[in-house]
Symmetry: C2
Subunit: 425 residues, 2 copies
């Protein structure tokens, strides 16, 4: 790291001993898993830099923003309408949630039989090792799963928390509930930021966030070419960074990657040889530094070419309608947008199978890894439907349930290699 | 069993081989765990009879009801408004869900890391070993937890299913959603039963079901005396049977138990010696034949004197307001009633702690067993709050996570005995 941020971390109240240990573990992992990839796009340099400053420069930016009276809003879920936060001159950041490091800290208060993402984020807060958490004026939670819904109650006792209710069904009553929740969220964010939502600032914010979604989509769709012009790991990394980087800068930098990838595609260049077996991953989100499955795949002779997950297609599939004119119409457009996410929190959620089919065919994938975090009931139960879909469509599929530990890497590798062999033969 | 019901089971499409095995296992278990209890109330004979005919005479009654054009509605949850079913001349029955026997059958399609109650009911259907399931015109599910919410999707492919959305929060938007869901449920039930909901039939149904709740409450409050006039196991059994027996007959029979218990209390008689250590159980519901924890407690020198759970206090704590006059007012009263259940599906659910405190003090309990089914995230995470409450109020507490297998009985017994020793000293 270029600069010493110790003083900043101290002022944020971080527990420096543990935080140092965490940083000392992440650096070498990143170097080993990312820097060594052959023929990476030049434009990835920016994202390497962002990772190297993940708890440094970006936090400094957040604190500078707060210094000027701005608000920082922490989130864990696609359903939190970032357009509203951006419109009110707030910064929305995804909080730390992807490391095994903080899981044991959380298990002092939470059950072991619980999703690692949830244990991880709670441990990051409890152990004071996430500077994003400590910079966030409020954490906006949602009711998308039992685990998060209930753990936000505990979190609310040690950090300001605001919870949005996502309905369980998408029908008219559910939409109406979400409409009300959006209105309440706007009021709460206006209070926190001290700004008022207007047609102008919301329109500009929708445009900004849409541009971000479009830039990521460009990168991800370019992966559909063979040879793939960028690794799955790097594409995932860009996706992950989109949740906490400055929106406009991120968009420019992602577009730079896309520009470079377009040239590669035109020249027939890639990061893997043409004909490399292509796999798609579908399931639960992958928070930094959870790169396990992508790393296993891409060190087993295959490429990940698509992610049907929150850190992937579910985020950039749709943009918010920009034709809405009045503030009311814009709010309706936001409601439509968020109710169109095919998350397993909804029942039924059949449209997710359409997304999987679309992405599978478009990306030229030859097999699917259905990957869920341990104890993630919504996706674990939906796995049955995805398996049935795969069987009916003759799609090779491997289903894995995994956490953030390294204990199962050997077993994962064996199963992924078997899938790679199956799709290659 | 008095009669041979084989022909009836065959006509219902039961898988007789497995069903025989199940019945052969349950009979001796019941005899061993219930019949041998000393000084049981005479009036328990009826409930013994009901259990002996659990898959026989009661099913015959349901089929006779259907023969006459009546409907049978299967449920798994307190939130399904049975008053509406009763008003429309339907019969609401809780379905089979408490046996380890059917769990492996379900695991062919469902994840292992899933609540045993859910795996059990799905296995009962998949294996065709529950005559209640096979008699039910429709199963009414709800969205109270991720597991049930998602498994109803699978169930809907092999049985008619109707799902009610229970909101995640109790505020005005959630209440409004539930009001709409009630209206939709009424329309669906009118369609299924062919009857119309009226002021008269709803008023009569509310009264009937309230009487049932009141009768159970009488029995349960009489347990608050020392010596306890009835065992926890028998009180739980009455509660469990209330979910599938004929409403009016059940109410009479529960009242007969209560009458007998009143005489015992007046005479200072009980089923355990005065001064026997008293424990309360709080947590997830116990479906027949899940009597494990009660049996462990009552063979470890203590008595269970209260249950803060769905098969317990949560069911009979409140009655539906009988003063409502118009159909609309009655519907509002139903909405109020159901939104007043303190289930862990809601966030927050602080009022559950008030219920625990009330029941703990009223019942004269000296310690709490917080018992959750494995992988039940809502109650497992709330466990943290209950533990905190217990610590703050100096209440001895043991928290257990258990399933329907017998593998952990020894370990449970050790922990319960330690709690009994603690409260006795």
């Amino acid at each position: 790291m270029a600069e010493d941020w110790t003083q900043m971390w101290k002022e944020l109240g971080l527990e420096l001993g543990n935080h140092d240990k965490l940083m000392a573990a992440l650096g070498p992992l990143y170097l080993e898993w990312f820097a060594d990839q052959p023929n990476r796009p030049e434009a990835m340099r920016y994202f390497d830099f962002v990772i190297s400053e993940v708890h440094g420069l970006r936090i400094k930016e957040l604190l500078d923003h707060k210094e000027k009276g701005g608000a920082v809003v922490g989130t864990f879920c696609l359903f939190v309408p970032e357009e509203v936060v951006v419109a009110l001159d707030g910064v929305a950041v995804g909080l730390c949630a992807g490391a095994d490091f903080s899981v044991p800290i959380a298990e002092a208060e939470l059950p072991r039989n619980l999703c690692p993402l949830i244990k991880s984020f709670y441990g990051f807060k409890l152990g004071k090792i996430c500077p994003y958490f400590e910079s966030a004026d409020v954490v906006v939670g949602e009711t998308t799963c039992d685990g998060k819904k209930k753990v936000y109650e505990h979190l609310g006792k040690i950090h300001p928390v605001y919870v949005m209710e996502v309905p369980n069904k998408k029908g008219p009553a559910g939409r109406e509930l979400w409409r009300t929740e959006l209105e309440n969220f706007i009021a709460a964010m206006e209070e926190i930021t001290g700004n008022r939502l207007t047609e102008d600032n919301l329109r500009a914010a929708v445009k900004k966030v849409n541009d971000k979604r479009r830039a990521i989509r460009r990168v991800h769709e370019l992966r559909w070419n063979d040879p793939a012009p960028i690794s799955g790991k790097d594409a995932l990394l860009i996706m992950q960074i989109s949740f906490y980087d400055d929106v406009e800068r991120f968009t420019r930098k992602a577009d730079e990657v896309a520009d470079e990838l377009e040239k590669r595609v035109a020249a027939g260049e890639g990061v893997f040889p043409a004909g490399t077996p292509r796999l798609m991953v579908s399931g639960t989100p992958m928070a930094i530094p959870n790169w396990k499955i992508h790393h296993v795949v891409e060190t087993s002779g295959a490429a990940v070419v698509a992610e049907e997950m929150c850190t992937g297609f579910r985020y950039f599939k749709n943009t918010v309608n920009e034709d809405a004119k009045t503030l009311d119409e814009m709010k309706e457009a936001l409601v439509d947008h968020y109710m169109d996410i095919n998350c397993a929190c909804f029942t039924p959620n059949e449209a997710r199978l359409d997304d999987i089919e679309y992405l599978y065919k478009s990306s030229g994938a030859q097999g699917i890894i259905h990957a869920t975090l341990s104890f993630c009931t919504p996706y674990l139960v939906e796995q049955g439907s995805v398996k049935k879909f795969a069987a009916e469509h003759d799609v090779p599929l491997v289903a894995v349930e995994t956490d953030y530990s390294e204990g199962d890497v050997g077993q994962l590798k064996t199963r992924v290699e078997a899938l790679v062999e199956q799709v290659s033969s």
